[in-house]
Each structure stands twice: as C-alpha cells, then as structure tokens.
C-alpha cells in the first residue's frame, strides 16, 4: 500500500509513566528494556507501537483493561504526550507539537466519542451537539442549524430541547456521536463508545454506527474490549497486550493465523461462520462445481445453507465475476465445527 494513503502513522511510540521519563528519549531502542524500566520505576502504558491507519478504514484497537489501548488512542489525539517516538496525524507530528497547532487540529480534523458520553449537564441536546462550533466562535444560528442536521442524522428528532439527564443511555451516546460529527472531522476516534450500554442497545448502536459510516466514509479509530464487537465492525484489528501491539490483521486473518496463544484465546470462542468469507475458504476449482457462483466477500453464515444442501461444491467468484475456487459441504462443516484445521 502506498504510504501517502495512511493518515495516522505511529512510529515506535512509547508512553511511560513514572519519574524522569524525559531521559528515556536519549536512549537507544535496545537500552530501553525491562531491566531499565524496572530499575527506574517506569511503567510502560504503550510500548514501541508502530502502525499505519489508512484513509477511510475502520481500524479497531482491541485489548483488555490495562492493555494500553486507551493510552494509545490518547497519544493519537494528543490528550497525553507521547514519551518517545513519532505520532503523526497527516503531516503533523503530535510529539512536541505547539499548543495552538494542536487546538487547530482538534477543531478541524479530529474528534472523539467518550465511553461515559461526557455530555455537559447544563446544556440542551442541541447546545451539546453545537458545542464544538461554539468553541470556534461560530454564530448561534449557524451552529444550531448544523446541530439540528446532526440531531436528525443520529435519530434524535424531537428531543433537541431535552437535557442530558432526561435521556436514556443510548440516546445520550447518540448526542455524543452527533457532537463528534459537528465539525465534519476527517478522523473519528471512538473510545469504547458502547461499553456502558445494555447488550441489546449496544447491538442496535453498532448497526447505527455502521449505517452512519456507510454514508460518511470517515477514517475511524475504534477502541473496544469486546472481540465480537471488533470483528463485527472492523476492517482491521490491532490487538494490544501489556502495552504492545501483538497483531494487526483483518478479522479473518486473526482467526486464520493468530500470532500467538493470547490472540488465539480470543478467536477460539468466535463463531467462525460469522467471520469467514467465501473467498478465504475457496479451494482450487474442481470440475464438479456447478450452479451460480457465490461472491468471495459473502459471509459463510449466509451461504452455508446453500452449500450444505448441495451435493456438489459451489463455485466462488470475485467482484469481477471470475471464478476463483469452490467450497464443498465438508469444508463448511469443518470450518463451523472444526477446531482450527480449516
């Protein structure tokens, strides 16, 4: 992939907590090891993370609490200072950035949705949504008009004059989402946006989120501790463990080739037919394959009934219509019930 299309670039990003973190900038990469950290009583929240996020993709950072995912996203937004390494948003390096420039980036290019919503209790729904424009000094009429558009977009029609405490949790997060879209940012950070919601509402909000992204096409960095949520919405997933990024891959890639036992443990419980797509299951074409081909991007869950009811392998075609292989009943059964040998 060409480097120009990546909009966020982390280069050996470290975030350390403890006394004397500045001194670590002068060390070589090899010197900054566990022994050094222990003797200097430094706690690494993020360790040596290098990754690129492409324009327009949904990039999910997945990890359990304490894995460093929240800190990493706060490095990306400048909410915490990166201790070491380069943290680039477009052409701006956030490491050591000037405060004014950072304010400017936040006002125009990036925005964030918070786990606990962070709605201002003294403002109405509409004023909350319009808040980022108010900070920029936009006129009242202009910002309220824009806020009304967004309230409609996220389905808050008729609730514009409520106060946050008069809304349910799901509705409150809709306000948070609308507010983060007010300035039409390029990059949209969502920090565990649905973790505080009930499972049913969470599912509904994930659908809503995918629907929004279908029309907005933002670059999205999405934090979650829920692997199922991650595979449901992600283009690519970075799995973090003890401050390190252990693996970056597509949901399928993680399931097919987990980098280590830690990742495998997550993928083990995931129903495969909800993740695997026809393309990655297709075997070399045999003459036996017959019937209309299925799309390579189709989820196994959607095509399984047809394959299972057919005696012969079903052909798989890519988006140009070229047949790239076929899937038979045995493969479907092995994928769904098998233990990994696909």
């Amino acid at each position: 992939m060409p480097d120009t299309s990546s909009i966020i670039r982390c280069r050996n990003v470290w975030k350390l907590y403890g006394p004397g973190t500045d001194a670590t900038r002068d060390l070589s990469a090899a010197e900054l090891n566990d022994t050094y950290l222990q003797t200097h009583r430094l706690v690494p929240a993020v360790r040596d993370v290098t990754l690129d996020i492409q324009k327009g993709e949904i990039f999910v950072i997945m990890g359990l609490s304490g894995s460093g995912k929240s800190t990493l996203v706060r490095c990306m937004t400048g909410l915490v200072d990166t201790t070491r390494g380069d943290m680039l948003i477009g052409d701006d390096n956030l490491t050591g950035i000037d405060a004014r420039r950072l304010i400017d980036i936040r006002r125009r290019r990036i925005s964030m949705v918070f786990q606990d919503f962070a709605l201002l209790p003294h403002l109405t729904v509409l004023d909350n949504i319009a808040f980022p424009l108010r900070v920029q000094g936009k006129g009242r009429d202009a910002r309220l008009a824009r806020a009304r558009e967004l309230a409609t977009l996220v389905g808050l029609d008729g609730r514009e004059d409520r106060f946050p405490h008069e809304l349910s949790g799901g509705q409150q997060q809709r306000v948070g989402i609308a507010r983060s879209l007010t300035t039409d940012p390029e990059i949209w950070f969502l920090d565990e946006p649905f973790s505080a919601l009930d499972p049913l509402i969470r599912h509904e909000m994930q659908d809503e989120f995918l629907r929004l992204q279908g029309t907005l096409h933002k670059t999205i960095v999405f934090i979650t501790h829920d692997f199922e949520e991650a595979i449901r919405i992600a283009d690519r997933i970075a799995i973090m463990h003890n401050g390190r990024v252990v693996q970056i891959d597509t949901p399928e890639g993680l399931i097919l080739n987990p980098a280590d036992a830690y990742v495998a443990e997550f993928t083990r419980k995931i129903p495969r037919h909800r993740v695997m797509r026809a393309g990655s299951l297709a075997q070399p074409v045999t003459p036996l394959a017959e019937g209309t081909p299925v799309s390579a991007t189709a989820l196994l869950a959607d095509i399984a009934p047809r394959i299972l009811s057919s005696d012969r392998p079903v052909p798989v075609a890519d988006d140009q219509g070229t047949i790239i292989g076929a899937i038979d009943r045995q493969q479907v059964i092995a994928t769904i019930f098998g233990t990994g040998a696909v």
Binding site: L79, R106, F117, A118, L120, T124, P132, V135, H165
Partner: protein, 670 residues
C-alpha cells in the same frame, strides 16, 4: 519501672511503635506518672511547665509589627495604610449602596448643588419582591416562609436591622463567591497551590473569629467594612475548597472533551469545567451563605450593626426578651437563606422552556418591577416607606418577665443541676487536665499521631503543642480543652444513641434529619441566648451551648453511616440468624465505624467553633484571651491565643480523620 522509661525513652517508643500492646503500656505509664503527684515529682520542672523566664515575648513584637505595618509601612511609593484605606473605600461602595437602598437612603452627589437625597425602598415593595424571588427560586412553601419572616421583622420592629444584616450577607456572598471560585479554580489548575492554600484555609476556618478581628480593625477601622472583611475571611474557604473538589471530581472525559473540542484554557474553564461542576459549586455556595450569616452576626462585636447588634446589646444589658426576639429573627433568616440557596443548588434544568427574556423568568422581572415601582413611590410619597407603627410591638417586657419568673421559680433545681455538674464533673476533669505535665501530653499525642499516620503528623502535632507551651498559654489551653472534652463526650453520649435509633426507623430518621438540618443552619451566636436566659453566665451554660451546637453531627454521622451499610450485608446478617441487636453490634456499627469517627471529628470541630463564642458568657480559656484582645486591640495576644485554639482543633481533627481513613482502608472501603 518509671526510671527505666526515663532513662531509655527511645527504646520504649520504638517498641511501642512496633506493637500496639506495648504502646498501651507506655501510655498507661505516662498517665500514671502524670496523675500521681508523688511520681510527678520525679520529673524535672521544665517537663511539667516551662518556667516563665524561659518563655520568649512573642506578643510584644507582633503588636509592634502590626502597629508599624498599619501606620507606617510602605510598599514602594504607597503606604500600607493608604492601600488598606483604598481597599476599604472600594468595598464600602457596594455595601453602602445596598444598605442605602434597603435601609438608610442614598445621597447622589450632584455637581454645583447639594446632593440629591433618595429614600430607601419601602417595606411593602421589598416584602413583595423578596416573596416573589422566594417563589421563583424555591416554590410556594419557601415563598410563604419568606413572607412570614418579613412580617415577623416588620411586626417586631426589627426591619431595619434585618435588612442591614441581609445587605452584609449579600455583599459578603458576592465577594466570597468571586474569590472562592477564583482561588478554587487556581488550585485545580496548579495543584502545588494546595500546599499553601490548604493549611491557610485550615487556620482561617479554625482561628477564632475574635483573634483576626483585631488586625482587621487596625487596618480598616471599627465598623461595617471591617465586619464585612472578617465575614469573607470566615466564610470563603468552603467555597474555594468545594470549587477545587468539584473540579477534581469531574470525570476525566469532561476535561478531554474540552481538549478535543479545541477549547482555549479560558473556554475550558468557563464553558466546560465550571458549568459541569455546578452541583459541587452550589454546595459550597450554600455553606458560604450560611457561614456569612453566622459571621455577620458575630461581627456585631466590632460594630457591624444589624440583628447581631440587637442580640449583643440585649445580652449585655440583660434585656433578654429583645435578644430572644432578634435571635428568633436570625433563626428565621438562617432557615430562609438555607432553603433558598439549597433549592438553587438542587434545581436541574428541564426542557420545555423555549421562551426567552422576561417570559422565561416572569417572577424575576415582576419582582424587579415592584422594586422599581417602590423606589419611585418612596421618593414621591415618603410616608409609604415605613411600616405603620401601630402594627408593631415587642413582647420584650413580657418575655423578660417570663424568664425572670422561670429563673426565680426554678432557681433551686437549675442551681442544683449546675452545681452538681461543676462539682462532680467540671472541676475533677479540669484539675486532671491541668495537672498533666506538658511533655507527657506532647508525647502521648505524638505517639497517637505516629500510630494513625506516621512520623510527619507526629512532628506536626509536637510542633503545634510545643508552640502553645512556649507561648505560655498552656494552662489556658487546657482550660479550653477541658470544656470541649466534656461537651464532646456529652454530645456523643446523647447523639450516638439517637443516631443509631433513627437509622433503624425510617420515619424517625426523616424527623431527625429535618431537626438536625435545621439546627445546623443556625448561627452559633443564637445558641447563647436561651442558654444565658436559663443558666446565666459561666462554664455550665457555655457547656450546654457547645453541646447543643455540636449535637447535629454527633447524630447525623452515625445515622447516615449505618443507613449506608450495603443492604447485602444486613441481609447476610439476617440470613445468618442475627437478632436486630446482634446485627447492629456485629455488622452495622463496625461497617459504619469510619463514618462514625468522621462524625466525632466534626463534633469536635463544631465544639471548638462554639467554644470561641462562649467567651461572651465568661469562660476562662484561650477563647477569653481572644475576646479581651478585641477590646484592648492587642493583635499579638489575640493571634497567639487564637492559633492555640486553632492548633488544638486541627490536631484533634487530623488524628481522627486519619484514624478513620486507616480504618476505611482496612475495611476495603476506599
């Protein structure tokens, strides 16, 4: 055994610190040595009391310094005296404007001619407007309360005094809010400021009001401005502290939201942090209002006028009826102000008010309209300003006679009660405390401090107690301490069982909460009135007043603490087959113990707060010294004695709150 201890104290202290058992032994030995005269003889004299010759003269230099500072000192081209005069003029402007509007009338300076005389607002306009504002802020019942209070003041001819007090409270609250929010936000922005501000607030809040009245009089003269400054000093710290606390308690995401929206530092504070922390700020505001009233009343001592002055004159001339009427008026005003400022804090915005301007707040504009109308009416027809004299009256004589009758007919039992307390409780306690060698007290407190917190607190308590000894106020400090100790013990003996009972029974609990909340709003000064009426002057009425004032926290903390014990725990106790009593003893009280201890510390702080005022009824400890300092304008004596009281209460508070925190950690309630 005692000689071993004297020879090798370090060893014993070290072992005491290690194990609680040997600590108790050491404490016991110290007590025995201290209390038995024969053993005390073995101690060197300086360990019992520092000889007079050793004591440095601290008060003299402080007095000379303050006189120099207030008369001669210069900062650059300006004399301090001129600065303080200028400041006084700036503060006086709004104060005299409000007082003029409410009571005294205004004189507008006009060029060429004599100033234009404007009359103050008439009673009917103020009464109507205040009632409407009451309705706007807190609803119908509060409005009725406001109206009733106004009528009370009018009918008993206390209107002008009440309005003067209201004016001082109003201006003090405005200044206190601005200062408090500024200082509180600064401490949030720069946490290092805590190192300076926290101890300063501690001292400001515990220093007896009389001891800082003297320097204020030196700088600002005798009168309302000095009173106002004293009021702000007394009432502002909780506003600042609550501001900082509320800002620190905000979820981190609120601050992050401000950053992510691209707020400038000013926008961050004004648009995001302060509004989001509104609830906490208003808690501080409520405390600010109540303490301002309390201080504005006490400030009568330095010529603030108003209701406090009526009480003070009444107490001085033994016209108790008038003092009682004014005291009841203060009580009414306290309840009203508390209601209104609390309602303000609890109000949450709600949707459906799309209207703007006067239609959104019709009551506000209506009230302002009535005030404007009244102002015009007062100029055109001045006779409408005053409440018709025929409708006013005072029960003064009647009440006086009643109290005389009570005193005469119950002189026997009341006297017997008082004498019994004095003979069997007061004197023995006082003698015991006075007989303790000061070194023994310092050592005991330091050991306790080390146990609950560590070496830092032990050093701090040692320094504070040594200060009291070195300044030569040790005996007076013990005299203060004995009265507080007895009062606190009695308050706890009364309060704890009530609190426990109230926690078991929801209806009793509600009633208790209502009573204690009301008692807590009353300014300390008010408590002196009935006590003096019934018991006259001296330590016994002082003790009764202190107990009454310190009782609310002694009831509330155990009650709330027990009520807050998680339901699952009480259910587990029930399922284990506990009787109600067992449940209380084995589950509820142990779990609520940290809270109960905090209640004890609050009770002690309140007791010291009241002790300071009891100087007016003739107690003899440090508090008396601060009151004498006011009348003789001796800054040094007043400040040193005041610091003594301040230190005693800070020590008691620190020991208990740290003990409570330790317990909380052990119970895993962090």
């Amino acid at each position: 055994m005692s000689s071993t201890i004297l020879r090798r104290p370090q060893v014993l202290i070290a072992s005491a610190v290690r194990s609680p058992k040997s600590l108790i032994v050491v404490l016991g030995v110290i007590l025995v040595i201290s209390l038995f005269p024969a053993l005390r003889e073995t101690l060197p004299d300086w360990a019992v009391r520092l000889p007079k010759a050793w004591l440095p003269d601290l008060a003299g230099p402080i007095n000379r310094f303050f006189v120099w500072l207030s008369r001669k000192a210069e900062i650059g081209p300006l004399r301090v005296k001129d600065i303080s005069r200028g400041l006084a003029a700036v503060i006086e402007m709004p104060l005299s404007l409000v007082q003029g509007l409410l009571v005294t009338g205004l004189e507008l300076p006009l060029p060429l001619r004599k100033g234009l005389q404007l009359n103050a607002l008439p009673w009917w306009a103020l009464t109507a407007a205040l009632t409407i504002f009451g309705h706007w802020v807190a609803g119908r019942r509060a409005a009725a309360l406001v109206l009733a209070s106004c009528l009370y003041f009018l009918g008993l001819n206390l209107w002008d005094e009440a309005m003067l007090t209201l004016a001082s409270v109003g201006i003090a609250v405005i200044i206190g809010t601005i200062l408090g929010v500024l200082l509180g936000s600064a401490a949030h922005r720069w946490p290092q400021l805590d190192l300076v501000l926290n101890p300063t607030y501690d001292v400001m809040q515990t220093l007896p009001v009389f001891s800082y009245l003297v320097p204020i009089i030196l700088f600002f003269g005798f009168g309302p401005v000095a009173a106002l400054i004293a009021t702000v000093i007394y009432a502002m710290p909780p506003m600042a502290r609550n501001t900082t606390l509320a800002l620190r308690r905000l979820p981190t995401s609120v601050g992050e939201l401000a950053s992510m929206s691209g707020c400038s530092p000013r926008q961050r504070l004004l648009l995001v942090l302060l509004p989001a922390a509104r609830q906490g700020l208003l808690t501080g505001f409520n405390q600010l209002v109540m303490l301002s009233l309390s201080a504005a009343i006490i400030a009568a001592v330095i010529g603030a006028g108003g209701l406090g002055n009526v009480v003070l004159q009444g107490l001085k001339s033994m016209q108790l009826g008038r003092a009682f009427e004014a005291g009841l008026g203060i009580t009414l005003m306290a309840i009203v102000l508390d209601r209104l400022s609390r309602a303000f804090a609890l109000r949450r915005p709600s949707h459906g008010t799309k209207m703007t301007g006067w239609r959104r707040h019709p009551e506000l504009f209506c009230g302002l309209g009535i005030l404007a109308l009244g102002f015009v009416a007062a100029q055109v027809a001045p006779m409408t300003r005053d409440f018709p004299a025929v409708l006013t009256g005072s029960s003064g004589r009647m009440l006086d006679d009643f109290f005389t009758w009570v005193n005469v007919s119950f002189a026997g039992p009341i006297g017997a009660l008082r004498d019994g307390f004095v003979r069997h409780l007061f004197r023995p306690t006082k003698d015991a405390l006075l007989s303790l060698p000061w070194m023994a007290v310092v050592l005991l407190v330091a050991l306790a401090a080390h146990q609950v917190r560590g070496i830092g607190l032990a050093l701090a308590t040692t320094a504070m107690l040594s200060f009291i000894a070195i300044t030569g106020y040790w005996d007076m400090a013990m005299t203060s301490l004995y009265l507080v100790t007895i009062s606190v013990v009695i308050a706890v003996l009364i309060g704890f069982p009530i609190g426990v009972l109230a926690a078991q029974n929801p209806r009793l609990g509600q009633a208790t909460a209502l009573v204690t909340d009301t008692l807590q709003t009353l300014p300390s000064f008010v408590y002196l009135i009935p006590v003096v009426m019934l018991f006259g002057l001296g330590d016994f009425p002082a003790m009764v007043a202190i107990v009454a004032f310190a009782l609310p926290p002694a009831i509330r903390y155990p009650m709330d603490g027990i009520a807050r014990v998680p339901q699952s725990l009480t259910e587990a106790a029930d399922m284990a087959g506990c009787t109600r009593f067992q449940r209380l003893i084995h589950v509820q009280i142990p779990c609520a113990l940290p809270e109960i201890m905090l209640g004890l510390s609050q009770t002690i702080l309140m007791a010291f707060g009241m002790l300071v005022i009891t100087a007016l009824v003739g107690t003899r400890g440090l508090e008396q010294e601060t009151l004498i300092a006011v009348s003789k304008a001796k800054v040094g004596e007043g400040l040193i004695a005041g610091l003594g009281i301040s230190f005693l209460s800070i020590i008691a508070d620190r020991l208990i709150t740290h003990g409570s925190a330790r317990l909380r950690r052990r119970l895993g309630q962090v």
